[in-house]
């Protein structure tokens, strides 16, 4: 001791400095939390605002005249299905538009007028006639979807200010729209189709359901493979494996596999499942198997850590009562480790739900307009759908991309909620 202060004095002197240090550390921590929180809020707000247009769809009311001449049907006679499929319903839809704007004469303008409604309107009109064959020769008011350019224009205040060279809609089209609005023929409705259909080239017809179902099938395959295999592997390695060089090697490999870039698993899936075993490309089966490979190490590591954490006193109690090793493992260790195992599994599944790269390699990136109905149908998954839409040039797909991200985030929140619930449900105190 160089100084001649008493211990109390030197402690006091240091105390102020210690408290300053603590305060600095706490302020830094708080700053970090707030920074993270702010970025999260900004991100979510940005996505939500961008996604909003996708949840609404502009509808236009047309007075459709089911013209027997244009359609080529004879009134009074039953309409054959084949004829229905080949009839010119597009012409019927166009003509009902032309009828509303008789002043439009030029061929070019007529085409622009026809572009106001979705190209899917003709199918909607066809389905109506199939349901009501007696409408042939009659004029019926029908609400049809507007084209995505109309939708984008009407929903975006910023677009309405710019010159027509910088937007998709011509000035005359805007004028017609205003006229329709005046007549009460334009309405905005909630876009249910977004949640009910699969992908489409036309943004106003594109929906998320195909990708959601694809993700569902894929994750079903993943969990059905990864959970039992991961649990079995973890139980064996933790409780039964003899200490040996081989087991050490396997352990090191499992730990390293968790860090392998996911696209490598995709390449492996392509080489083994598709090229070697000849499984069908783009199918949830192959995608699920690839994701299962990717998820396995996560589950094994989490399950082993959970089983290690089971107190040895419980093991001894079971063995002391005459339980065999296997009974001890399955009646005590695994049930007590279950919260941890499930948490690990759901983290792995959430990771799999958000994975894009390995699925690109097995062909799940294809453009698929049908909702998959089995494990071997061609399908795509949510993150890949987001990737596809983000790549599309139509402005309306920007909104759909953000909406799909919201849906994906929603599923992730649901899965994490399930993880918390399961953990609470299985948690036991000792």
């Amino acid at each position: 001791m160089v100084s001649n202060m008493t211990p109390t004095e030197s402690v006091k002197k240091g105390l102020a400095r210690r408290y300053r240090k603590e305060r600095r550390f706490r302020a830094l921590g708080l700053l970090a939390v707030w920074l993270g929180f702010t970025f999260l809020v900004i991100l979510l707000a940005d996505i939500t605002i961008k996604a909003l247009p996708a949840f609404h769809q502009t509808w236009i009311k047309l007075d459709v005249y089911f013209d027997p001449e244009v359609l080529g049907f004879e009134p009074g006679r039953p309409i054959r299905e084949e004829a229905l499929l080949h009839a010119d319903f597009r012409g019927v839809v166009r003509r009902s538009l032309y009828a509303m704007f008789p002043q439009v004469r030029k061929h070019r303008d007529k085409r622009k007028l026809g572009a106001l409604v979705s190209s899917a309107a003709q199918y909607q009109v066809r389905d109506l006639l199939r349901a009501h064959p007696d409408w042939l020769g009659k004029t019926v008011p029908v609400w049809v979807r507007a084209d995505d350019d109309v939708d984008t224009y009407l929903q975006s205040a910023s677009l309405q200010g710019v010159a027509q060279d910088h937007r998709r809609l011509r000035d005359n089209q805007v004028a017609w729209l205003r006229e329709l609005e005046k007549q009460g023929r334009i309405e905005r409705r909630f876009n249910w189709l977004f949640f009910r259909s699969a992908d489409s080239r036309e943004p106003e017809q594109a929906g998320i359901l195909g990708a959601v179902v694809g993700s569902f099938y894929t994750l079903l395959v993943t969990i059905a493979l990864a959970f039992p295999l991961g649990l079995a592997g973890a139980v064996y390695l933790e409780e039964y494996a003899p200490r040996s060089r081989w087991v050490d090697l396997i352990e090191i490999n499992i730990n390293n596999l968790a860090a392998v870039p996911s696209i490598v698993f995709g390449l492996l899936g392509l080489a083994v499942f598709i090229n070697f075993f000849g499984a069908s490309r783009s199918s949830p089966l192959v995608g699920g198997m690839v994701l299962a490979l990717m998820t396995l190490p996560t589950i094994v590591i989490a399950a082993r850590a959970a089983m290690k954490a089971v107190p040895p006193s419980i093991r001894e109690a079971a063995l002391g009562l005459g339980a065999s090793h296997t009974q001890m493992v399955f009646q005590h260790v695994v049930p007590l480790a279950m919260p941890g195992i499930l948490t690990g599994t759901i983290i792995g599944m959430a990771q799999a739900l958000g994975e894009t790269a390995p699925l690109l390699m097995v062909g799940m990136v294809a453009f698929i307009v049908d909702i998959p109905h089995s494990f071997t149908d061609s399908a795509t998954v949510l993150p890949v759908q987001i990737y596809l839409w983000a790549d599309s040039p139509e402005r309306a797909f920007v909104a759909r991309t953000s909406a799909a991200i919201l849906v994906l985030l929603g599923f992730l929140v649901l899965m994490n909620g399930a993880a918390i619930l399961l953990r609470k449900r299985f948690e036991r105190k000792w």
Binding site: R243, P311, S313, A317, G320, L321, G322, A323, H332
Partner: protein, 302 residues
């Protein structure tokens, strides 16, 4: 120090055997700084053998990896007696206890040598299933370790495991009897389906005893069953041990000399992995023959 020297001399004059290095080290740690600490015999003082032995150990050595924890211990457990194993920490008494129901098997680096018998049957042969052995030789651990299940399920676990009850009412009967014997019935009979882990420490330990006797073992091994309990809970457990003696053979490891004196009929004193002295509890506590035993029970070491 003077008394130690005197006793050690007398012990040394009785039998003189050459000492190995480890042994002389052990003595040194005890008798240091006295440089001329006399050697002592390898032989156990007193009589480790009884006429009606329920379990018997002969020349048992236990190794943890390279380290030897128990040196050539021979000891009998008489039928319907309580044998107290006492000694300073790390002297091998718990290790010896765990040999009796092969709990040491689950420690990978642990190796047991020697002859261990239950009713004359070798328990270390391949023919003896450790699962069956542990059903016959039950164990109560130092820390109360009820399963995170209901009180009922805790007690019913063993009988269910071994199929001891033919139906639900028989199982109920076993659970009730075991809890009554363990002196816990009155406290828990109205909440059998609440968690066993919600009980107090003393109750938990009695629950563990009830769980052990529900399997109807022949021998009960207790590894410091009262070390985590307060004096009142300890007294309850000690009364319980006295009662259990009517039906079971009990070996109890304890750090409390008073407890050993109160509950046991015979006492074995372990020191550094060796069995130093065995005898009637009254005799060992009033008239210890080995200086190490005397030092320990008079509180000079340990």
């Amino acid at each position: 120090m003077v008394t130690i020297m005197k006793h050690e001399e007398s012990a040394a004059t009785k039998v003189r055997v050459p000492l190995d290095e480890e042994e002389s080290q052990a003595v040194e740690t005890l008798a240091a700084p006295s440089a001329e600490a006399p050697a002592q015999s390898d032989e156990t003082v007193g009589d480790p053998f009884v006429e009606r032995a329920k379990m018997s150990a002969r020349h048992v050595d236990v190794f943890y990896g390279e380290k030897q924890a128990i040196f050539d211990v021979s000891l009998d457990l008489g039928e319907h007696e309580v044998l107290a194993l006492i000694g300073p920490s790390g002297c091998g008494k718990s290790t010896f206890l765990r040999c009796l129901n092969r709990m040491n098997d689950i420690i990978p680096e642990c190796r047991v040598e020697g002859d261990l018998r239950l009713d004359g049957e070798d328990i270390r042969t391949r023919g003896m299933d450790p699962v069956l052995l542990r059903a016959r030789v039950g164990m109560v651990f130092q820390k109360p370790n009820p399963f995170p299940k209901s009180i009922y399920d805790n007690v019913a676990y063993g009988p269910r495991l071994h199929g001891l009850a033919a139906n639900r009412s028989e199982l109920d009967e076993i659970v009730a009897t075991s809890l009554k014997r363990a002196g816990l019935w009155g406290e828990v009979k109205d909440r059998l389906h609440e968690a066993g882990t919600g009980l107090s420490g003393g109750q938990q330990q009695r629950l563990c005893i009830a769980r052990t006797i529900a399997v109807s073992p022949e021998v009960i091994l207790m590894d410091e069953p009262a070390s985590a309990l307060d004096p009142i809970a300890t007294a309850v457990i000690e009364e319980l041990i006295e009662e259990l003696r009517q039906n079971y053979t009990i070996a109890i490891v304890t750090h409390s000399m008073q407890q050993a004196a109160r509950v046991s009929q015979r006492t074995a004193y372990f020191h550094l992995g060796k069995l130093i002295e065995v005898g009637e509890t009254d005799r060992v506590f009033t008239n210890p023959r080995h200086p190490l035993t005397e030092n320990y029970i008079t509180g000079r070491i340990g």
